[in-house]
């Protein structure tokens, strides 16, 4: 396993896009980690409830507040850091859950074949067809303000079909391989075959798709928050944009408007770049291309 990782890493290093993506990701991860510090320095730096006792309206950047303050005097930079933390949390959890679900269902469908396969894939079709944002929108508006974890769960529930198709295809081709035949002859149970033999081979593909799932999860949460259906006790970048918009500072406070939007885009971009680079690592055919040039 370790050799495969190191081998992959050496390929990855060559890829410019991958490198940029990784650097950006590290920057954001650092931001997320740093988000815990400001409130410890001074309670006025708390992203949600920390107001500056001297400033009660939106101000532009200063030494006291590196990105200025929002409309009731809260520090925007701290909100940005907290937003990074939320973005990672939402993105990775939602992606992880949907990959878990998608991989499991994909493997089971591919391995079982016949009715189970058809049923599961029909289900996948049905769910894939739904515009996730609109579905979560309807649900969140009906059931009241949703809690952030509920949002994560909902996103995961609607994003697994894409993964499952790919995993199923992979499983189908693996199913016919000799080592699976051997395992069956040896008397291994279906369960064992799936998780001991098939899973390790589909896992790299799962991980690849996870990066793409992260981007969509982040965007959906941001769009929800922007429209006003997010979790109001979490300071996410989408929520920050909603505040700028709804309090009428959209066109007056570029220091408040630009950072969250740029961050969403850059974080999404970095995951995407990571995914593309990983694709090259995992898909030897693409690598050969590089060698040719």
């Amino acid at each position: 396993m370790v050799e495969r990782f190191l081998e992959g890493w050496s390929v990855y290093k060559e890829n410019l896009i991958g490198k940029i993506g990784l650097i950006l990701l590290v920057i954001f991860a650092l931001m997320a980690l740093c988000s815990f510090f400001p409130p410890m320095i001074d309670p006025m730096y708390h992203p949600m409830t920390g107001v500056d006792p001297l400033i009660s309206h939106s101000t532009s950047p200063s030494w006291r507040h590196w990105l200025g303050t929002d409309f009731i005097g809260r520090d925007i930079f701290c909100q940005l850091l907290a937003g990074a933390r939320i973005a990672f949390m939402v993105g990775i959890s939602a992606a992880f859950m949907s990959i878990l679900l998608g991989t499991a269902i994909g493997m089971i469908a591919g391995y079982s074949g016949k009715i189970v396969d058809t049923l599961l894939m029909r289900l996948a079709d049905m769910i894939m067809v739904m515009p996730t944002l609109l579905v979560v929108l309807i649900l969140s508006s009906l059931f009241g303000q949703l809690n952030i974890w509920t949002i994560v769960l909902l996103i995961a529930l609607f994003r697994w079909p894409g993964v499952s198709r790919v995993i199923r295809a992979q499983t189908l081709s693996l199913k016919e391989r000799p080592f699976i035949e051997a395992a069956k002859v040896a008397g291994a149970s279906h369960f064992r075959i799936i998780f001991r033999h098939i899973m390790p081979n589909v896992l790299p593909l799962s991980l690849l798709y996870m990066t793409f799932r992260v981007t969509s999860a982040i965007i959906i949460e941001a769009a929800l928050a922007f429209l006003g259906f997010g979790d109001p006790s979490t300071v996410s970048w989408g929520m920050m944009l909603q505040w700028v918009w709804k309090t009428g500072h959209m066109f007056q406070a570029p220091y408040w408007l630009l950072p969250p939007g740029i961050c969403i885009s850059l974080l999404t971009l970095s995951f995407y770049m990571l995914g593309r680079a990983m694709e090259e690592v995992l898909d030897p055919r693409l690598r050969k291309e590089v060698a040719q040039e």
Binding site: G144, Q145, F229, P232, W243, K246, T247, F251
Partner: protein
């Protein structure tokens, strides 16, 4: 390929440039921006502000409030209503007036309006008309209302209610009667061109984008002196343009695409608007109350001392200066201070002028006296203020976590934010508070329908001038499912005063009762009134003048009858 692209761009610019230059400013058109599309032109269905506003330019009431004094002024009526105590009846004479098709407005139309409202029990109107026993129409211009018993709201609500024409509605009502669900048939009937006797009539409603109105030449007030003002309207065309979002509407105002924006403007825009040469900003008071309410039916908020302590802890100045950016007034009674006649200023003003430490100390003393204890008291032995923890009720129980429900931030950022701050202040005091925004429909069901809540922050944005709502909110009999007594307040002394106030026809005596009621409520604080937001509106100075300021803003009927183009070369 490149050349083709270049050609395409050239054509593009040529075609679109004239469109973007915009038409020359047409002074006949008064352009008003709307925040949301009006729902309907059917007056019985119109529950949203925009529909009501447009219909108020068409259907007219018998009496209208003077913008300055807020007294009732005869509008469709001619002269004051005459009261006959022996028969508990009122006689009202009508001005000569015509409907927009030229036919006369008669007393029969008034009787018809009442009949239709009573027969179908039309929501929002029924309560203002149901106590009218019968209506006589001795001649075409005289109406006599017989009441079951004296009702103070007859003068303030019934007489200010819109009158509709028999001609327009009798066939519709007839058809509705035959349906399985008559009321729904009535309110869902599609009205394209409502027939009223007001200053304007509908020319066209292009759904989703605009409503175009034109001057009604049959308007009874045209050129007349009513309430000391010579009425127009002085504009030929009204164009209501629908803007989805407030910030685009404000941009449109700056650009000149609209002359006025009919919606409150968030404080965030003010600095920028103040710098515009051609924009004038109006600040009006609203007849509104935004408050924190409690559920008195169970612990912990059944204890009045706890409610008083919280009233002290809520920093109203903070909310007004930061969350409202100073565009609002502090409220200490349920009746807003702008309602000068009915507002009682002699009520306890909890926490006024205190800083954070004083508040905590005062609240601490209130609660300590009646037996509350803490794991870590917010005021330590030497009198210093520290973060409190683990408050216990007098019976020794640990106070359970409670939720403060608020509307969602996109619906009202002010209330949602206030809830968040109050949560923090209470937590610093040792109370396990949690502020929770909830979708508005669900919120109301929880609070009004199921009475399943601890505390909430709600508001009434358009309180009527008549303070009858005070009775509605706190009458014991109204403590039922969907009833207006949301807090569960039960006080026989208050009930007695409230009942008396509905039938007291003498204004001065009624005022004394209303004052007493306010004092009782503010002593018991089932609701903590917090703020009355100022209404901030913006108009273009260079195009039209003559906006009339009154409670609830400049977009009132008087303004539309009086604004004139601000141009010496107007056509």
């Amino acid at each position: 390929m490149k050349r083709k692209l270049l050609l395409f761009f050239q054509i593009f610019i040529i075609l679109f440039l004239p469109l973007s230059c915009g038409k020359q400013h047409d002074y006949r058109f008064l352009k008003i921006g709307l925040h949301e599309e009006p729902k309907t032109l059917n007056i019985w269905l119109a529950s949203d502000a925009n529909s009501k506003k447009i219909l108020s330019l068409i259907y007219q009431p018998l009496y209208l409030r003077d913008p300055e004094t807020l007294n009732l002024v005869p509008w469709l009526a001619d002269g004051e209503p005459k009261y006959h105590p022996d028969t508990i009846s009122y006689t009202v004479r009508l001005k000569p007036a015509k409907w927009s098709d030229g036919s006369d407005v008669t007393s029969k139309d008034v009787a018809f309006t009442a009949a239709i409202i009573k027969e179908f029990r039309v929501p929002r109107y029924y309560s203002s008309w149901k106590f009218i026993k019968k209506i006589e129409t001795p001649d075409n211009h005289t109406v006599r209302f017989y009441l079951e018993k004296p009702k103070a709201i007859f003068l303030t609500r019934t007489l200010t209610s819109s009158i509709v024409s028999t001609k327009e509605w009798s066939d519709i009502a007839q058809a509705a009667r035959t349906k399985q669900k008559p009321l729904i048939a009535l309110i869902n009937h599609k009205i394209e061109k409502p027939m009223g006797c007001g200053p304007f009539v509908i020319k066209k409603w292009h759904r989703g984008t605009y409503v175009h109105l034109q001057k009604n030449r049959y308007f009874f007030g045209l050129g007349q002196d009513i309430g000391g003002r010579i009425l127009g309207p002085y504009v030929n065309d009204l164009l209501f343009k629908v803007y989805g979002t407030a910030d685009v509407a404000v941009l449109a105002l700056k650009k000149g695409s609209i002359d006025m924006f009919l919606w409150g403007i968030q404080p965030g825009y003010i600095d920028d608007l103040k710098r515009q040469k051609n924009i004038r900003i109006f600040y009006s008071k609203k007849s509104a109350v935004y408050f924190m309410g409690f559920n008195l039916r169970s612990l912990p908020f059944s204890d009045v001392s706890l409610r008083r302590a919280i009233a002290v802890l809520v920093d109203k100045e903070f909310i007004i200066s930061r969350i409202l950016q100073n565009y609002g007034t502090r409220m200490d009674s349920i009746v807003p201070p702008g309602n000068k006649y009915w507002f009682c200023s002699d009520v306890p003003r909890y926490g006024e002028g205190m800083d954070r430490d004083d508040r905590i100390k005062t609240a601490y003393h209130i609660l300590q006296k009646v037996g509350y204890t803490w794991e870590i008291p917010p005021v330590d032995g030497s009198g210093r203020v520290v973060p409190g923890k683990g408050i216990r009720l007098p019976n020794g129980q640990l106070m359970e976590k409670f939720t403060i429900l608020t509307p969602p931030a996109d619906y009202d950022p002010l209330r949602a934010m206030s809830g968040m701050m109050i949560q923090e202040w209470l937590r610093a005091f040792g109370m396990p508070a949690l502020s929770r925004p909830m979708a508005f429909g669900a919120l109301l069901t929880q609070i009004k329908g199921r009475h399943e809540f601890d505390a909430f922050i709600l508001g009434y944005g358009r309180l009527s001038m008549d303070p009858d709502y005070l009775r509605n909110f706190f009458l014991s009999a109204n403590d039922k499912e969907r009833g207006w007594n949301m807090s569960g307040y039960k006080n026989p002394e208050f009930d007695h005063l409230a009942e008396k106030s509905t039938s007291e026809m003498n204004q001065e005596l009624r005022k004394k009762l209303i004052f007493k009621m306010q004092k009782i409520i503010m002593r018991d604080v089932p609701y903590i009134p917090i703020y009355d937001p100022a209404l901030i509106e913006a108009v273009r100075k260079d195009t039209f003048t003559g906006w009339v300021e009154t409670l609830d803003g400049i977009g009132n009927l008087w303004s539309f009858c009086l604004v004139k183009p601000n141009d010496t070369t107007s056509q």
